[in-house]
């Protein structure tokens, strides 16, 4: 989606929060929305099922200030995490500039994390992207819960690209902005082609 308009001095970028169901993707952008208050004057859009699960996507347009004279606008999307909605996930990845993979740290969720990550790789390829080249940040969410997978194991099993990763408790906001700032930085750097393909481990 990245769109740089030199005439109006605007930059628009699309960031997608991806990950397994109930991992905390929506909670991430809900927290961001809560922090923007009325200053942003943008509403969060949720296309949910009756039981509050994401049906198609959540959307938060985030109008930030200026950077180097350019007005910066990030469009944050989440995908539906449930396995059933694979077709929707593919659509939402179209035009993506950066991805936050929100992993659920609970031990019993590791298989779902791996499955979702495989799906991400596959869907990116289908949309013409290479996961080695697109800006990607990992978030290890729900670190406050008992029975979580050690960080070293999360890294080993889910972060073979060795991309930046952050621990998070999205319900409290911990790690939410650290993650968003990092992906934003990588996306902006990638706009000019500075971001280099990551070496695989």
């Amino acid at each position: 989606m990245s769109f740089v308009n030199y005439h109006t001095k605007e930059v628009n970028c699309k960031i997608v929060y991806y990950g397994p169901g109930l991992g905390g993707k929506t909670t991430n952008i809900q927290y961001v929305y809560a922090k923007t208050g009325n200053a942003n004057q943008n509403e969060i859009i949720k296309l949910n099922t009756e039981n509050e699960r994401t049906l198609f996507f959540d959307f938060l347009p985030l109008e930030l200030g200026e950077i180097r004279g350019f007005k910066t606008r990030f469009h944050l999307y989440t995908v539906p995490g449930q396995v059933f909605y694979e077709a929707s996930r593919k659509l939402i990845l179209r035009g993506v500039d950066g991805i936050v993979f929100v992993a659920d740290s609970q031990l019993e969720k590791m298989e779902a994390n791996i499955e979702s990550l495989k799906g991400l790789e596959k869907n990116l390829i289908e949309q013409g992207y290479d996961i080695d080249k697109i800006p990607l940040v990992m978030q290890w969410n729900k670190r406050d819960l008992p029975n979580v997978t050690p960080i070293e194991d999360m890294q080993q099993q889910l972060n073979k690209w060795n991309v930046p990763s952050f621990q998070a408790i999205a319900t409290d906001g911990d790690g939410v902005f650290d993650t968003l700032k990092m992906i934003s930085k990588l996306v902006l750097m990638n706009l000019k082609g500075e971001f280099q393909p990551r070496p695989t481990l």
Binding site: T8, N42, F56, F57, F59, L91, S184, K185
Partner: protein
């Protein structure tokens, strides 16, 4: 028209077309890219968030097209259009291409006396706009290629962008 941006060109064309197309402009008219990015937005309702409209329309079109594709690639010489409406209120979307990128012109009409006529006028307006922008040079609207644009962006600059989060 030359050396103008796509956005500027579309704005200029549509704003200059208001008088002769009041049937269309008394409703909400917008143009967005296929990924939802709003290029033009005209509405008398200031409460509507244009970015949300773009995102939803982009998703709506993609979903509709994907469903149709599931049944096999059914091409029509007229191309597809998308409507979600009642007899007097609703949404009508028409696609067009610029440099191989798909854009949409969308119309939200409310209590239209003759919706078919409004849609027809919108279609004519879009066709005229396509001719106009086909004559434009679009070099000002493109993916960033300026190597100095965000060179060596710092953590401080990113922190400044997100300073609202500190409150």
């Amino acid at each position: 028209m030359s050396n103008g941006s796509l956005q500027k060109g579309i704005e200029s064309f549509l704003n200059n077309s208001k008088n002769e197309n009041h049937l269309v402009f008394e409703h909400t008219l917008f143009v967005c890219r296929n990924d939802g990015l709003i290029i033009y937005f005209h509405s008398s309702n200031n409460l509507v968030n244009k970015n949300s409209v773009g995102a939803l329309v982009g998703g709506l079109w993609q979903a509709g097209k994907t469903v149709v594709d599931l049944f096999g690639n059914q091409k029509s010489k007229d191309g597809f259009r998308l409507s979600f409406d009642t007899t007097d209120t609703g949404l009508h979307i028409l696609p067009f291409d610029v440099k191989r990128t798909e854009y949409f012109m969308g119309l939200h009409f409310n209590r239209a006396v003759n919706p078919a006529l409004v849609k027809n006028r919108m279609k004519t307006l879009m066709q005229r706009m396509k001719v106009e922008i086909s004559q434009m040079s679009l070099e000002e609207v493109e993916r960033a290629t300026d190597n100095n644009l965000f060179n060596n962006i710092t953590d401080e600059e990113i922190n400044d962008l997100f300073s609202f989060a500190e409150n």
